[in-house]
């Protein structure tokens, strides 16, 4: 078998350092925002006792599930033996680690007491999904690093498949776990449903792949490495498939809510009366994150154009963030169903007087923190591909597809 050659990303130092400088400053700004929040307390954010998780969590959860999805390509390559995806394995692993780190960092910096991180690492409540997630996340990091090692080090090659299979299950557990963070919240109408977990899995596939494609196309273009049409087509139709699946699950989700749990109130609120959240749902989640990319990816001509594919990826990411806004913030804004059959006239604690949703307006600091997390992920990726061999030298058709003749014809 021909071996795939990987090379460090070798764009011109000037441009590389420029890129790092930009990313680092975004990271630094995010860090300052976090420091400011830590020092002042959360009153400077838009979060309240009613909406307790907000913009930072939108970014964090998005990054975390995207991390799990990014690993998908490595699994397809090793576990399912699809040779064409093999060269993508390393980048896929790197992105998984990077996105997860970015997401976790945001999560940690948004804690009320980030200075007690060590407490979080030494005290565990094993009944808590969240605590399990801490293990799932660290385990994931270690596993992916091991997985990368098996891919890169020849001595490890033979463990690649078992580690890959293990990583795949772990990854599914991780997304399921992340989904379950919400899924087990019996308190709230929006969450308490089993379908949230598989929906998160399928979302992770789409978001991870979209980010992967963007990074792949950017790094390859900057350095002039070739990506063949075959692999591009495969990846973009895979993305289309995932996006379609998200739409399907969205539908099922609302149907179970209506028929299964009889939560008409919640469903009609999100679909019709939720104001900004309704807009995020229809415009962001369904249109921008679903229908538009589908239109592009299955379009007879646009689907062949890389710029359009990149645009579709961007749309999927935007749609993903919108979906998170609806799922995370929207569901908290919607009042808790404490007194069925009653209307709340007054309350000393914003219990949804007259059925009103809790208000939330993101503060700049929250957005900066979230974007900082994204920048951390990209920074790790940029450094990773530069110092280690993550990127295949070429994804040209004849390299990727073993049936095409070698260069010397």
């Amino acid at each position: 078998m021909k071996r795939i050659i990987y090379r460090e990303w070798r764009i011109e130092p000037g441009r590389y350092w420029g890129l790092l400088a930009i990313l680092s400053s975004v990271v630094a700004i995010g860090g300052l925002a976090a420091l400011y929040t830590f020092q002042q307390g959360h009153w400077i954010t838009g979060m309240t006792n009613s909406v307790v998780w907000a913009t930072p969590h939108v970014f964090a959860v998005f990054l975390i599930i995207a991390a799990s999805g990014a690993l998908n390509l490595a699994t397809i390559g090793t576990v399912f033996g699809k040779g064409a995806y093999k060269p993508l394995g390393r980048l896929s692993g790197l992105l998984a680690v990077a996105l997860l780190m970015g997401g976790l960092l945001v999560l940690v910096l948004d804690l009320g007491r980030p200075d007690r991180l060590i407490v979080a690492m030494t005290h565990y409540n094993f009944r808590s999904i969240f605590a399990w997630n801490i293990f799932l996340y660290t385990g994931f990091l270690i596993l992916v690093i091991a997985y990368l090692w098996t891919m890169a080090e020849r001595k490890g090659n033979r463990y690649m498949k078992p580690v890959g299979v293990f990583a795949m299950f772990w990854r599914l557990a991780l997304t399921t776990g992340t989904g379950s963070i919400f899924g087990f919240l019996v308190a709230r109408d929006a969450y308490e449903t089993a379908i949230l977990a598989p929906m998160f899995v399928i979302m992770s596939f789409a978001y991870g792949l979209a980010i992967f494609l963007l990074v792949l196309m950017f790094t390859f273009r900057e350095e002039g490495r070739p990506i063949g049409g075959t692999i591009m087509r495969r990846l973009s139709s895979l993305l289309g498939l995932f996006v379609a699946a998200i739409l399907y699950f969205t539908l099922v989700y609302h149907l179970t809510k209506v028929y299964g749990a009889q939560h008409y109130g919640l469903v009609s609120w999100i679909l019709r009366d939720g104001g900004a959240y309704t807009a995020f749902f229809w415009f962001g989640w369904v249109l921008v994150g679903g229908l538009m990319p589908l239109g592009i990816l299955f379009h007879p001509t646009l689907a062949g154009d890389r710029r359009w594919i990149a645009a579709a990826c961007g749309l999927v990411v935007t749609g993903g963030l919108s979906a998170m806004v609806v799922i995370i913030i929207g569901s908290q804004a919607y009042p808790m169903p404490m007194f069925p059959g009653h209307t709340i006239l007054e309350s000393g604690f914003f219990d949804g007087v007259g059925g009103a949703a809790a208000s939330y307006r993101p503060a700049v600091s929250e957005i900066l923190l979230g974007v900082g997390g994204v920048a951390v992920a990209l920074l790790i990726t940029a450094v990773g591909v530069r110092v280690l061999q993550f990127l295949p030298e070429s994804l040209a058709d004849e390299i990727v597809d073993p049936h095409v003749q070698t260069a010397r014809a």
Binding site: K2, R3, I5, R7, R154, Q389, T406, A407, R408
Partner: protein
């Protein structure tokens, strides 16, 4: 396959780090220089009385003269990063060929005589007196280092074993234990002007022959002048370029490039050698004496620029040391760096679109490129760091259609030595040369298998000679190694030359944009 009375390593699809086999190469020693070869360099002809004391004194002197030696002997923490980086270790499995193992041969003596810990607790820190056995080890293993500096790339302190083996050779020379191959050659340079001992008239003859050949080939009369006073450029090139294959094809190429550039140039019979073996024996004095010949030739021929031909360590001495050893060069044209590499010269022309190529003339070859170690790790081309990697590749891409790099770990600054550098290119070290070439040839073999590579281009006379000799041991052909300027020579379209077909022009256009 060439016959060998030792085991030729088997090539593997992947690089392996072999387990240690102590002593496998302790028998390997180059011939010792006799009186006649020692004397011209100012060294005693045989082991002197009281050599131990004298060697230690010499070591002390060198410690005071070379910061590198002092710092390197102190700083090593035995981290092990360098242990699997030397091609001689990889090819021979002898632990004394691990860079740090090699250094330790000197370090143990250094510790014994120059450090407090070694004086007080020699056992504890592994210190040892300079005994006859130690001297033998030195002679053996310091002549198993091609001074390629690969180890220094990976050492956290940049410890360069080459500096240490140079110092060791200098110390040994000073007590009368010299190596025949190097010292004989240096003697020839002093007497005749070049390593091969080719006298001026012979050179003239050869060059006239070349002019005829090129004319027959191309129908254009390209000149190969020597000792022409007033020429603009002095070309200093390794003497192998004058006759041996594939070197001479490179020289033909230089001539064609100069011709197309329209500059006047000349060789010199006084400085008819680019290589400077003074480097190998670590002798500043000898290196300087050899380098001075170039200054003398430049003054005598009243040239304005100096250009060096393809040779690795020659380029190191030229690029890194010439200014120090034979400068200042204030009498030359200040618009050009002194000296220039022929690749820089050619590349500049390509960039300016002043050369036209028909790449298809090299279509019978699929190429890879061997970064010669002294070029890669001890010098530079062009204005920017790393130009020494990019410029030759740019030239290949401009002149050939099929080019593939070898594995990343074995090229650029991580390149493997050909196995013949550092004054070891002698038949009495054949076993070492064959085994030491293994890592490079293994990587070559892999691109041959996977990318269909047929030829490897190099820009060093030692590499070319070494590969010509060693490739057959590995079942390859000696002509699979080519000069870089041979590719230029093949592809270049000389002004006024009959062109084959109309496509050429278009091709040439394409090239210049690509190279720009």
């Amino acid at each position: 396959m060439a016959k060998a009375d030792f085991q030729v390593p088997e090539l593997q699809p992947y690089a392996e780090i072999p387990p240690l086999q102590p002593g496998t190469m302790s028998h390997s020693k180059p011939f010792v220089a006799k009186q006649e070869f020692q004397a011209p360099l100012g060294y005693p002809g045989e082991l002197v009385d009281g050599w131990e004391r004298k060697a230690i004194d010499k070591m002390g002197e060198l410690l005071g003269k070379y910061r590198s030696l002092r710092v390197y002997l102190d700083s090593c923490v035995k981290c092990g990063s360098c242990t699997d980086k030397c091609h001689y270790y990889l090819g021979t499995k002898d632990p004394n060929n691990m860079p740090v193992g090699r250094q330790d041969l000197m370090r143990k003596v250094y510790r014994r005589h120059f450090t407090l810990a070694g004086r007080l607790f020699p056992k504890l820190v592994g210190a040892s007196d300079f005994t006859r056995e130690v001297l033998d080890e030195w002679y053996s293993y310091f002549h198993q280092c091609s001074q390629c500096r690969r180890c220094s790339v990976f050492c956290p302190y940049g410890i360069d074993t080459a500096e240490i083996s140079m110092a060791a050779r200098e110390i040994m020379d000073s007590i009368g234990v010299g190596q025949k191959y190097c010292n004989e050659i240096i003697g020839k340079v002093y007497k005749i002007g070049n390593n091969l001992g080719l006298p001026g008239p012979a050179l003239k003859d050869t060059l006239e022959g070349l002019e005829e050949d090129v004319f027959d080939d191309t129908g254009v009369s390209v000149r190969y002048p020597i000792d022409e006073e007033g020429a603009e450029i002095l070309l200093v090139t390794p003497s192998a370029d004058f006759f041996a294959e594939p070197h001479v094809d490179g020289l033909i190429g230089y001539g064609k490039v100069f011709h197309e550039a329209g500059v006047s140039w000349t060789l010199s019979s006084h400085a008819s050698e680019a290589a400077n073996f003074g480097l190998f024996i670590g002798s500043y004095d000898n290196m300087r004496r050899i380098a001075q010949r170039i200054r003398e030739a430049a003054i005598q021929l009243k040239v304005k620029r100096i250009v060096f031909g393809e040779c690795g360590h020659a380029w190191r001495v030229a690029y890194s040391f010439l200014n120090t050893l034979a400068g200042p060069w204030d009498f030359l044209d200040p618009r050009y760096p002194v000296p220039q590499h022929i690749c820089e010269f050619t590349h500049d022309l390509i960039r300016q679109g002043r050369l036209r190529f028909d790449k298809s003339r090299n279509d019978d070859m699929v190429l890879t490129f061997h970064d010669s170690c002294n070029v890669a790790r001890a010098s530079r081309m062009g204005e920017r760091a790393g130009g020494q990697f990019e410029i030759p590749r740019a030239i290949i891409r401009a002149t050939c259609n099929h080019f593939f790099d070898m594995e990343e770990e074995t090229i650029r600054d991580r390149t493997f030595c050909c196995g013949g550098g550092g004054g070891l290119l002698t038949d009495d070290l054949m076993e070492l040369r064959v085994k030491g070439a293994m890592p490079r040839i293994q990587a070559l073999n892999n691109v041959i298998k996977e990318k269909g590579v047929t030829h490897m281009a190099a820009i060093c006379a030692i590499c070319k000679s070494q590969f010509t000799k060693v490739l057959p041991y590995y079942g390859m052909e000696m002509d699979q190694i080519v000069s870089l300027h041979q590719l230029v020579s093949n592809a270049i379209i000389l002004t006024g030359q009959e062109t084959g077909d109309e496509e050429d022009d278009e091709e040439a256009e394409g090239v210049s944009t690509e190279a720009a």
